[in-house]
Symmetry: C2
Subunit: 462 residues, 2 copies
């Protein structure tokens, strides 16, 4: 952390062009060793090769997106007020930050993943704690980052890499006085522990933990009746994708009782049980999944629809509402259908789930007309509300929100995917009465960087 602070003091001042080139250089270094990286990740994570190739592409695209963002420059929220006093403001990096690798995304949420890319784009230095489930992948990715550091001429310790248990190494990193922020994607217990450590520090720091979500999907009656086969196909694929090891996996389904629902459930069960299986990420996750399924199926009033590659179960809304255990996440290809007698029960179920990453509504136009309140309710629960698509498959773009009310994440005000993820690693600083040459370029008269700025309450890029 001391080296990270020393690196930050230089790196935080690098011009945007150099920072962007560094991000692009990391992407290029990763690309140049794609085959080896994907092979190592496959050995360690058991994830299929096409998935890992796609994930690596997403990872390099993320790096390039942040490079574009930094080069364009308007993200700093520059603002100028010239009244009696000359007051200007922009975002500056926090300092050294700690990023925890995630077990379920060896590339996109790990060593050079979204947390690292957004932190580096912001001008923060990064210490990565690699995940033990893919330690060799993490080290190989870090090797690519080190080469990018050398090629780009940024300080040697701009990014550092350590391995070790979360409860000791991870805790020590979070508690270190030089640490100014933390990024984490993983379990609820792990994220909640980091939140506690950070809150107990002499100087508390923000923790961005993406932790758990059951991603409720409401299947409205008209579409369930008319589009049964298509819905079965979409959700069987979404539930079993990557053996259900996605944060946005649809773990909770809601529908009104009807003959169409019974048909849907039978077909979904059949499809899910026959899906192509592969090993889970590591034995710890496989054990947790087996235990989670067992605990869930032990609850009173639950019925198994079918079990195979994945497990589909159902429960009456009245039973769901009495037992908080049904609100818990089973990380893996498990999904629970809550059968509701009427819209009142459906509303009650949604009002009783916790904060979510996503909320989905499957609907025909007629359904949407009849259920606008259900859509509004989903927006109060989740960071992303989806109509007529599966929640899995998170686009990396400006408008993405991969975040949501606790316990989906530690802080619903931020996203860990998409361009605005950069906002987690910055704070505003106001410069009052500064002579022009002492101002950052972004705030100088004449707008040398031609960025969008709020000047006396007007948006201008001139």
């Amino acid at each position: 952390m001391q080296r990270s602070l020393a690196a930050f003091k230089e790196y935080g001042k690098t011009p945007p062009t150099q920072r962007a080139a560094f991000l692009e250089q990391i992407a290029a270094q990763l690309e140049s060793r794609r085959e080896a990286l994907v092979a190592t990740a496959h050995e360690e994570s058991r994830l299929p090769l096409p998935r890992l190739n796609g994930e690596l592409t997403r990872t390099t695209n993320q790096l390039k997106m942040f490079a574009r963002l930094v080069r364009e420059g308007s993200w700093v929220e520059a603002s100028i007020d010239k009244g009696d006093k000359d007051i200007r403001k922009m975002l500056v990096p926090l300092g050294p930050v700690v990023v925890f690798g995630a077990s379920n995304f060896p590339f996109a949420f790990s060593t050079a993943g979204g947390d690292t890319a957004s932190a580096l784009a912001a001008g923060a230095s990064v210490v990565v704690k690699g995940h033990s489930a893919h330690a060799r992948t993490s080290e190989a990715v870090f090797g690519a980052v080190l080469d990018a550091i050398r090629e780009s001429g940024v300080p040697e310790h701009t990014v550092q890499h350590v391995l070790g248990p979360g409860s000791t190494t991870g805790k020590a990193l979070v508690m270190h006085p030089h640490t100014t922020g933390v990024g984490f994607t993983g379990s609820f217990s792990g994220g909640r522990a980091l939140m506690r450590y950070a809150a107990e520090r002499e100087r508390p720091v923000p923790v961005f933990a993406e932790m758990s979500s059951i991603n409720p999907v409401v299947l409205l009656p008209d579409t369930l009746h008319k589009n049964t086969a298509a819905l079965v196909k979409t959700f069987a694929a979404s539930i079993t994708l990557g053996m259900g090891q996605f944060c946005t996996n649809p773990g909770l389904l809601l529908a009104l009782e009807s003959p169409a629902l019974e048909v849907f459930l039978q077909q979904l069960g059949a499809e899910v049980s026959q899906a192509q299986a592969h090993d889970m990420l590591h034995s710890g996750i496989a054990d947790s999944y087996a235990e989670g399924v067992k605990d869930m199926l032990d609850q009173e009033g639950i019925a198994v629809v079918q079990r195979g590659t994945g497990v589909i179960a159902k429960v009456a809304a009245a039973v769901f509402l009495r037992n908080p255990h049904f609100r818990e996440e089973v990380f893996g290809p498990f999904s629970l259908m809550v059968v509701c007698k009427d819209k009142t029960e459906m509303t009650a179920v949604l009002e009783n789930v916790k904060g979510q990453l996503t909320g989905t509504v499957m609907a025909t136009e007629k359904d949407l007309e009849d259920h606008s309140d259900i859509i509004a309710l989903q927006a109060t629960l989740a960071g992303r509300v989806i109509i007529n698509d599966a929640p899995t498959g998170v686009e990396v773009c400006n408008s993405m929100v991969h975040g949501g009310p606790f316990p989906a994440t530690s802080d619903a005000r931020f996203t860990s995917v998409g361009a605005t993820a950069i906002k987690r690693w910055v704070r505003p600083v106001c410069f009052q009465g500064f002579p022009g040459h002492l101002l950052p370029e972004e705030l100088q008269d004449g707008n040398p960087r031609k960025i969008w700025r709020l000047v006396n309450e007007q948006w201008l890029n001139t």
Copy 2:
């Protein structure tokens, strides 16, 4: 809090025009009872009438500024990406929030002050806990808010008002499951307690506590020599303004040892001791101030320059660096000059103070040339860096940052003064695959509100 949640469900959906009119109506109601409000606040707070009149004007101006912001509408950070998928995003209000009145600003940081105004602008409902030191003022302001609620047709419980001790009533409000955010301006111990309560909740919520700051001022040698009289006048006024009861009071001065410094200190002492005195806000603050001064002057190596209406003391940098007590705030008209042998000591002192609201540098052009590193250092400590002006006097504008690294505030990423204070009470929500008529107006095609939006990485207001 239950009533607040019910009100939020309606108020959070009010159109911007109605929300803006409501804020303007509060301002009008306050203006219409100015004389009575100022008289009551004077009785309770002992603050001079001109100050209170000015503060009430600031308060109504804040309300009007937020009305403009809401009416203009671009603050919601609308963003649209139309690729394979249709993904849109904007900020939405968090829910019911709790605002604590501040003892030192009966209007601007209390019942209808900046926290309340920014929360209402965001679409949050508010429960105010009035400060016991000006309970009647708080109730009278709340009366004005109630009339504005009736006039504007917003839900009856959009704003509510309670009185009671922080340790019971305040804690209960922060811990209530419906609470989604907290605004506080006050002591470090009070703010830190609220942070702990919020972190211990089953569902943690953000706390924006503005707590303590000694606002270091560096007086550089050339200006100290050339502009002694002007500096004495500026800082004697700033130190004693409102009996030093401002969060941005300059409690720590730094200068290199020199004959000019001795002249400055003698004149500053004389000026401060002769300043017009008035009673402090309440007996608790007066007692704390007396104790704080006594504790400080009991420290080894400190010397009193002069005491009267205010107290000026001095200490050698080497002594300051050995004793952490010198970094603590004495809330009131107290200022400690740290006499530095050289720039290295000056840098060491700055590196050893905690997070600050403001950092100030007084300098000629020559000074600035010789000390750009000192200015850069101030920017790492504080939310606002000022060149050649006193830190007291916080302009309410877009570019203001009234915030800073812990313990100045609980969260350096936000400000409690200025237009961006609204960002404390919102979170982003992503709308994916929504048919146009179900989207919020801000995200609809054709941009009916004509706000600035980021559309496929381009800023457009059409």
